[in-house]
């Protein structure tokens, strides 16, 4: 602390100092001075909180949309269900609109127009990210469901399972295994996209880093630190996914 203040005074006065002393001052003021690491920690908490909620919403929405759209597309000719057609139409609009507009614009609309009275900026951000992620996830899941051979459904049905049961015990487990890498990709993008919610006032990791930058006028270490934290989070995430994947592959014969 005292050492930092002495060195900081030297740097501020433009006195010659060694590279290591300068480095010490920069790192100290970026992370340790005035307990600034707590700001990053709070930021990481919000980032994880937002990611978790968005993930749940995204998977839930994605699964429903994907199942309905697959069911609609795989109807037999001449047996069109009108209700299914209507829901499919609505979901189609949802996917088109969400995938067709930038994340940032969606955040601004949700944050400043639709939820104009909400003061919980992180939650609004999580909701927006979840709705956004749902559209992408639905297409990934749909791809997985469509990829499972028709024979699987026929086999399930001819063994006396209902449509729902066949889906639940035969089709979805096979689909999930196939789409896991793509799904992992989407989750990683989602985790990193949480950095956008600072636009509407969400106090996540980048918000904290920028706060420190604007106080110290030193951009390198706060941003490098934030990047490192994201990297670690994503690596941890990837590791968890790989464990899950390995478990699903346990019965594979190849």
């Amino acid at each position: 602390m005292e050492q930092y203040e002495a060195l900081k005074a030297l740097v501020t006065a433009g006195e010659p100092v060694t590279v290591w002393q300068k480095l010490y001052v920069y790192v100290y003021q970026a992370f340790i001075y005035k307990d600034r690491w707590k700001q990053y920690l709070n930021g990481v908490q919000t980032t994880l909180y937002v990611t978790a909620i968005a993930l749940l919403i995204g998977v839930f929405l994605g699964l429903i949309v994907a199942i309905v759209r697959t069911a609609h597309d795989q109807q037999r000719k001449g047996h069109r269900n009108v209700l299914l057609g209507a829901i499919n139409f609505v979901f189609n609009i949802y996917v088109t609109v969400i995938r067709g507009t930038p994340m940032m614009v969606q955040l601004m609309i949700m944050g400043f127009v639709i939820f104009a009275s909400s003061k919980d900026f992180a939650l609004v951000g999580a909701l927006t990210l979840g709705i956004n992620s749902g559209a992408y996830t639905s297409e990934i899941i749909r791809g997985g469901l469509m990829a499972v051979d028709v024979g699987q459904m026929e086999a399930g049905r001819s063994l006396g399972l209902g449509y729902t049961d066949t889906m639940r015990f035969v089709i979805v487990p096979q689909a999930v295994k196939a789409i896991l890498p793509a799904l992992g990709n989407e989750f990683i993008v989602l985790l990193k996209d949480t950095s956008l919610i600072s636009v509407i006032g969400g106090k996540e990791l980048i918000y904290a880093a920028r706060g420190v930058v604007s106080r110290t006028y030193e951009a390198m270490f706060p941003f490098l630190g934030a990047a490192l934290i994201y990297l670690v989070l994503v690596m941890a995430f990837t590791w968890l996914l790989s464990i899950f994947e390995r478990r699903l592959r346990a019965s594979d014969r190849r």
Binding site: S117, K203, R215, Y217, E218
Partner: protein, 252 residues
């Protein structure tokens, strides 16, 4: 061989020396051009007009300074926190965006860029919706909106803690949040607050008791040639009353 190198080197150095002198007393990042970073959501100091020109007190002063120094002047718009960094890293020659050059903030800032002389005084003020009863005394109980990187952010965060304060990239977004009721008030420089209150009916403003601050331009730290030239030009404009006239014109 060694001799030839020595001769060549000294020739190069001589050439470099004459080149530097030939360019004049000051150097800019782009030759013949004075570039400044600014956050054009800060009326009356700088804002965007309908033709997307950056207009206001500071662009007017900069245009006159450019004339005096014989330089073409170019404004580079960006958000405030980035504008400060631009002048610090030498992406632009200057940051001209209502930069406070007094108090604790200035000591920190002057590590990173040189300040010209100050030319106007302002104080922090609180803007809120009419009907709300907000003063300096109960400011700590409100949710406060600020622009990221401003003195308003530092002062309120130091007084009331980071949880009470939400920093937005631009004032446009901060005011949208205020009108939506997402924050209770905005703490910002009084001249700017006044301009926003004039634009948005239903808003009102009170002064804070924070210290009076002064604005100056932040100059990329290199040789002091440019700083001296800018100061000379600025002092001329202050002395003949031009700066005051420009300020008076835009304040109304």
């Amino acid at each position: 061989m060694k001799k030839t190198i020595a001769v060549l080197l000294s020739l190069v150095m001589l050439f470099a020396l004459t080149a530097a002198v030939a360019e004049g007393e000051f150097t800019t990042i782009e030759k013949g051009k004075l570039t400044y970073a600014t956050s054009p959501d800060f009326p009356p100091f700088e804002s965007r007009d309908d033709e997307d020109n950056i207009v206001g007190i500071e662009p007017d002063i900069m245009a006159l300074i450019g004339e005096k120094l014989g330089l073409e002047v170019e404004a580079v718009p960006m958000d405030f926190a980035s504008a400060l960094l631009a002048a610090q890293l030498g992406k632009t020659d200057l940051v001209v965006s209502g930069v406070t050059a007094t108090g604790e903030k200035a000591i920190e800032r002057s590590t990173w860029f040189d300040f010209t002389d100050t030319y106007v005084d302002i104080q922090q003020a609180i803007v809120f919706k009419e009907g709300a009863d907000i003063t300096m005394d109960n400011l700590g109980e409100q949710s406060i909106g600020v622009q990221a990187g401003t003195t308003g952010q530092d002062l309120t965060e130091d007084s009331f803690g980071e949880d009470k304060v939400t920093a937005y990239d631009t004032y446009s977004l901060a005011f949208q949040a205020l009108l939506n009721g997402q924050v209770d008030c905005i703490v910002l420089d009084d001249a700017v607050g006044k301009a926003y209150v004039a634009q948005h009916p239903g808003l009102t403003m009170v002064q804070t008791t924070y210290d009076v601050e002064s604005y100056a331009f932040g100059v990329f730290k290199q040789d002091t040639g440019l700083l001296d030239a800018l100061n000379a030009a600025l002092q001329e404009l202050i002395a003949d009353g031009t700066v005051d006239a420009i300020i008076a014109q835009w304040y109304n």
